[in-house]
Amino acid sequence: MPAIEMSNPAALPADWRDILALTKPRVMSLVVFSGLCGMLAAPSLPPVALAFTAILCIALAAGACGALNQWYEVEVDAKMRRTAKRPLPSGRMQREVALQFGVGLGAFSVLLMGLATNWLAAVLLAVSILFYMLVYTVWLKPRTAQNIVIGGAAGAFPPLIGWVAATGHVEALPLLLFVIVFLWTPPHFWALSLFVRSDYAAAGIPMLPVVAGPQHTRKQIFLYSVLLAGAAVSPWPLGLTGPIYGASAAILSFVFLVLAARVLANRATEPQHMDAEKHLFAFSVFYLFALFTVLVADRFLPW
């Protein structure tokens, strides 16, 4: 079928696929997974309907953050190759639609979480949305190279929220899960920003490799990887998890450290010579999935 030229695509009703794209479904999958694992690691589980609703609310809140982020950063997204084809910078949707969708989805997710599980979980969910939008997106991201360090806290909320939705209170283990995701975020994003540095520079975002250079970033990646390894293994000696988690966390963290050391040793400045950074970035995603999977396995397996 021949393509139809439209006078103003943004003036048309938005395509549902574009509305779905606003929620950043791939980012949502990691958020949902960590929230689910936080819930499954809790000592008591709510009925299936409430557990499903809690995870749904975490997903909806993540979708709201994605929509509000794209609404606020439309000019920045237009300057980066990676994001230029999103619905707003490409002109397929009106900006107000993203704002209304994001605010509506966020408010709905908090309200539903409070009514279905408990209000502490709802408050944490609201704090995570506001933290991501106001502290990270609006305040830190355009101003400081440490944006991802403090902003990482927003992504660290889901396992804590999952746990609180199940139990109604905060304990040591979910706080440690929060710390693990918090410390995991800088190496993960800095590895990415090393090999897409030109994109961030073009958009004027002060990511660490743009501001401080690749070598300083590599040192910071290694430093945070060491802290991450310590935090990831710590639930075992503290008696909060069993040996399955402890051994798995130690092995996974060792591999993470080896890959981070390879990044530290790399002197390349061109993305085509940054295999070490690409390997660390890819492994960091697997690392978090694997770590949370063994956490749940450790909770349910009999030894």
Partner: protein, 42 residues
């Protein structure tokens, strides 16, 4: 009908259908939440 009007109608139809499914799903979810909340004394 112009090609642009056709696209508008198509998108409205698709969005209305999806919204109907989502609202239906929400009603079912509310039903199960109510059952779960009445069975446990949270």
């Amino acid at each position: 009908m112009r090609a642009e009007d056709e696209i508008i109608r198509k998108r409205q139809r698709e969005r209305a259908r999806i919204m109907a499914w989502l609202l239906g799903g929400f009603v079912v979810l509310l039903f199960f939440i109510t059952i779960a909340k009445t069975e446990i004394n949270w």
